[in-house]
């Protein structure tokens, strides 16, 4: 007999430790009560229609001791202010930080350090209930951070649960490039749940590039809630290079005039991997632009979901919102469910969306091979060319090289797998 529905989420939580991070009572009070009433959503719920949680619900999470790792091998770029988390521990902290930047880790974070936060749905609520570690970054007004701040999160061991919670407050006129990398080691039925709240103050400029490179059987849930005040410019690059199950929920609330929002995504999936990108851009104020570009390459029996929602509230006139999702299927068994949603309540706006799904141009591959280029290199060239407009949005050249290098490894492996 299957357990009665409400029990599943509670069974799943049974061995999870309560939150170790000190969170404000405004986060916690209602959360537990609501969570106890909840279950894993099923496919009748629109937001989870194509992302089944049956397998997640069945895993038995249990914390295991961490192994000794060479954290430096996980750094995507060398020249950065680095912070490395391995399961519940922060195993490396940059010894220096530029003036005007503070980063508190784990126990250093007090309840009053957390600003308001949106915690809707079971993923975000689980994060509040079980957050073990994370960071609170404050970048002061007018600070231009000279090097990227790079945060690496490593899930280590089978059945390992990880709940990381982070916050970034970006001061007036501040400018920064943040790299976030997610990795796993020896993961089997492991589970990562990471939450980010990001606040951009006036006239600030922020690029966040998120690399999801979970090689093993790790279930990865990522939530980003972003708030933008007037004249700010925000870019989020979500690059899913590897991972058996990835769900990204991005919500951007544009809470001031004259803002620019860029959401870019690339996903390269194989085998039975699944990636789901849910994005919402909520235009509350007039005179803003948002641009969304997600591209995917799908092989074997992998599946992808793209759901991009744009709200334009009644007073938000003169909005330009563009959205595009393009996919290439490398196999007959791969599938993509792509769904744009526009809800427009203002009358003087320009919004567009487009979605395409096709195949890699075999004639192009033949052409390149006929000049002496190996099949692996030809495929990689054509895939990289297809993905290029997303990769070009990544600010740091070092990080771009890292991405291309990962791609090269991936496509050589891809061919060896087939032989």
């Amino acid at each position: 007999m299957e357990p009665v529905t409400k029990a599943t989420l509670q069974v799943f939580r049974k061995k999870l430790s309560p939150a170790k991070l000190l969170l404000p009572s405004s986060f916690i009070d209602a959360n537990e009560k609501e969570l106890i009433e909840m279950d894993f959503p099923n496919s009748r719920q629109e937001a989870w229609k194509y992302t089944r949680l049956n397998r997640v619900a069945k895993i038995n999470l249990e914390s295991t001791p961490s192994s000794i790792i060479d954290w430096s091998s996980y750094l995507m770029v060398k020249d950065a202010y680095n912070f490395v988390f391995q399961n519940t521990e922060c195993i490396y902290k940059s010894p220096d930080l530029p003036k005007g930047v503070s980063i508190k880790i784990g126990e250093q974070i007090g309840a009053t350090d957390w600003l308001s936060s949106i915690n809707e749905g079971h993923v975000a609520k689980l994060n509040v209930a079980h957050a073990q570690n994370g960071c609170v970054i404050n970048i002061s007004d007018g600070v231009q951070v000279d090097k990227p701040i790079q945060l690496i999160f490593i899930s280590d061991g089978p059945k390992q649960p990880n709940f990381w919670r982070n916050q970034l407050q970006h001061g007036n006129g501040a400018k920064a490039d943040i790299h976030v990398g997610y990795f796993s080691k020896d993961a089997i039925d492991s589970y990562s749940n990471v939450h980010w709240s990001v606040f951009l103050k006036e006239n600030s400029h922020l690029i966040m590039t998120k690399i999801q490179n979970d090689g093993d059987a790790n279930y990865h849930f990522s939530t980003e809630n972003i708030s933008q005040l007037k004249d700010s410019n925000f870019t989020l690059n979500t690059l899913t290079l590897d991972g058996s199950f990835v769900r990204n929920d991005v919500l951007v609330k544009v809470e001031g005039e004259n803002c620019e929002t860029h959401l870019n995504g690339a996903y390269i999936m194989k085998e039975n991997q699944h990636v789901d990108n849910h994005t919402t851009v909520d235009h509350i104020f007039p005179n803003c632009n948002s641009y969304e570009l997600y591209k995917g390459v799908m092989d074997d029996k992998s599946t992808a979901v793209f759901n991009g929602k744009v709200f334009v509230r009644p007073n938000a006139q003169k909005i330009n919102a563009f959205q595009s999702n393009a996919n290439v299927l490398l196999s007959n068994d791969a599938a993509v469910n792509s769904k744009p949603e526009l809800e427009i309540y203002a009358d003087d706006v320009k919004c567009s969306h487009g979605s395409t799904t096709g195949q890699l141009d075999e004639e192009a591959i033949f052409y390149l091979r006929s000049r002496g280029i190996s099949e692996a290199a030809a495929r990689q060239l054509v895939v990289a060319a297809f993905m290029q407009d997303v990769f070009l949005k990544v600010a740091s050249n070092d990080l771009k090289s890292y991405i291309y290098q990962q791609l090269a490894v991936r496509f050589d492996l891809y061919l060896q797998d087939k032989d």
Binding site: S370, R371, G372, Q388
Partner: protein, 250 residues
């Protein structure tokens, strides 16, 4: 250089080449002419290694190597070059970068060292001048937004860069105006040495006014039915392909 013996090839079960024999020696230019559907482009495709074609019989010896078991890229590295009838546009892949990768793969295959960026760029300048290809085009995405003539000139530019020992020009003259035709032919003529060879596949005699072949072969119904010197092309032009069809026993 290349010896094709009793080559039979079919696509989706339909025989196209039905016992083709051809020998090309270093320093020679051969023209293969024939009516539509005779198998001209199939011959180019089979030699380049297109996988849709099934070789049912025969063999091809290329410079001492058994060509047919080789992959497309291995053939290219052995020194075979196909100038495409319809060059493919590949958005996002830079013409220069892909050529440098290709050239280095070929050099590595020959046991040579990779070319330096500086030497490569001077080679690009030299060879693009040969086909009057704007060096800006050379650095754009492969064939993207090129005119028909520019695409064909880009084919000959690539041929010049890769320096193959056997080049197969598949209907390179199709769609070219007279100036582009002259430029392309001029490029091919300048690349000719006594070490390399060229097979020109064409429907019309026109190109052969500019590139003088040593031999002309007529391909009809999957076989070479007539061979001769450059005058054969003129005779064909005058009498038409019906002359061949009516004189070929089925």
């Amino acid at each position: 250089m290349i010896t094709i013996k009793d080559l039979h090839a079919s696509i989706e079960g339909k025989p196209i080449l039905k016992g083709l024999n051809l020998t090309v020696k270093a320093g020679e230019i051969h023209a293969i002419m024939g009516p539509n559907g005779a198998g001209k482009s199939t011959l180019a495709s089979v030699l380049a290694g297109r996988e849709e074609y099934e070789i049912t019989q025969g063999d091809v010896n290329f410079n001492g190597v058994d060509l047919l078991p080789l992959s497309v890229e291995e053939r290219a590295r052995e020194g075979l070059f196909l100038a495409f009838q319809y060059p493919v546009e590949i958005p996002g892949v830079s013409n220069i970068n892909f050529l440098r990768t290709a050239l280095n793969e070929i050099r590595e295959h020959k046991g040579e060292k990779g070319i330096s960026a500086k030497d490569f760029m001077s080679l690009v300048r030299e060879k693009s001048a040969l086909v009057e290809l704007d060096s800006k085009l050379a650095s754009r995405s492969v064939n993207e937004g090129f005119s028909g003539g520019e695409k064909k000139r880009n084919e000959i530019f690539q041929m010049a860069m890769l320096n193959p020992i056997l080049s197969i020009l598949d209907e390179t003259d199709s769609g070219l105006d007279i100036d582009a035709l002259r430029i392309v032919a001029n490029g091919v003529n300048q690349l000719k040495t006594d070490q390399n060879a060229t097979i020109i596949i064409t429907h019309y005699q026109r190109l052969l006014d500019y590139i003088i072949p040593d031999f002309v072969h007529v391909l009809y119904d999957g076989k070479i039915v007539k061979s001769g010197g450059k005058d054969l092309a003129l005779e064909l032009e005058e009498k038409g392909y019906d002359w061949i069809k009516n004189n070929t026993p089925n």
